[in-house]
């Protein structure tokens, strides 16, 4: 079983829809949670960065972390064709040698105009 599970999709939605992307994880040591966006043939770009449980909002993006359920989500409101990309969740522990990020496998999103 992978430490981080992410529905690979693909996910296709009409422009203006609300998109929900999710990851589950098994390592209770994870404290920092991130969402990256990766366009085709490009490197990942950091979208959201949260610590521990709770919500964080940035424009059309909202990240939620529920540590009790080991579940994180990214919501995209008023989705645009330019949001079409692969979305990767990532997480890491807070200390010790495990400072590397552990990524999900990514969800491919297409927003249709």
């Amino acid at each position: 079983q992978k430490e981080v599970e992410q529905d690979p999709g693909p996910l296709s939605v009409p422009e203006g829809a609300i998109v929900s992307l999710n990851c589950t994880y098994s390592n209770s040591a994870f404290q920092y949670f991130m969402w990256y966006r990766q366009y085709s043939r490009k490197g990942p770009e950091l979208l959201m960065y949260t610590y521990s449980s709770g919500n964080k909002e940035d424009g059309r993006f909202t990240a939620q972390v529920d540590k009790s359920s080991k579940y994180i989500s990214l919501f995209i409101r008023d989705s645009q064709p330019s949001d079409s990309a692969t979305y990767l969740c990532a997480m890491r522990a807070s200390s010790g040698s495990a400072r590397q990020l552990t990524f999900g496998s990514g969800t491919q999103l297409t927003v249709l105009p």
């Binding site: 992410q6 490197g43 990942p44 990532a90 890491r92 495990a98 590397q100 990020l101 990524f103 990514g106």
Partner: protein, 114 residues
């Protein structure tokens, strides 16, 4: 400001050969990490370097090695290439070692092993 730059962008090698990939971090960033991304998968951690010292290593064989130079640039070396080494190799930089969540990635070096 220049972001993380990687070279070469694309390369083709044959099994058994050796490859060197290069990375220049964002100016002022002292930590460099390397990740391998196989098609259809998320990036997988290979190494982290900070101030020229290895600070973390992922579950990769000894054929993979890296180093960081005094100017904080870095090289990833892979010996005795296998077909399974075909992937996008990503370099990421951050200011220090603690805030690795705020990693800034380059566009990667796409390696094809024939």
């Amino acid at each position: 400001d220049a972001g993380v730059t990687q070279s070469p962008t694309h390369l083709i090698k044959t099994r058994g050969q050796h490859v060197t990939l290069r990375c220049s971090p964002i100016s002022g960033h002292k930590s460099v990490s390397w990740y391998q991304q196989v098609l259809g998968q998320g990036p997988q951690f290979i190494f982290q370097y900070y101030e020229k010292e290895e600070r973390g290593r992922g579950n990769f064989p000894d054929r993979f090695s890296a180093r960081q130079f005094p100017n904080y640039s870095s090289e990833l070396n892979v010996n005795a290439l296998l077909l399974g080494d075909s992937a996008l190799y990503l370099c990421a930089s951050s200011f220090g070692t603690e805030n690795t969540g705020e990693l800034f990635f380059g566009e990667g070096s796409r390696l094809t092993v024939l």
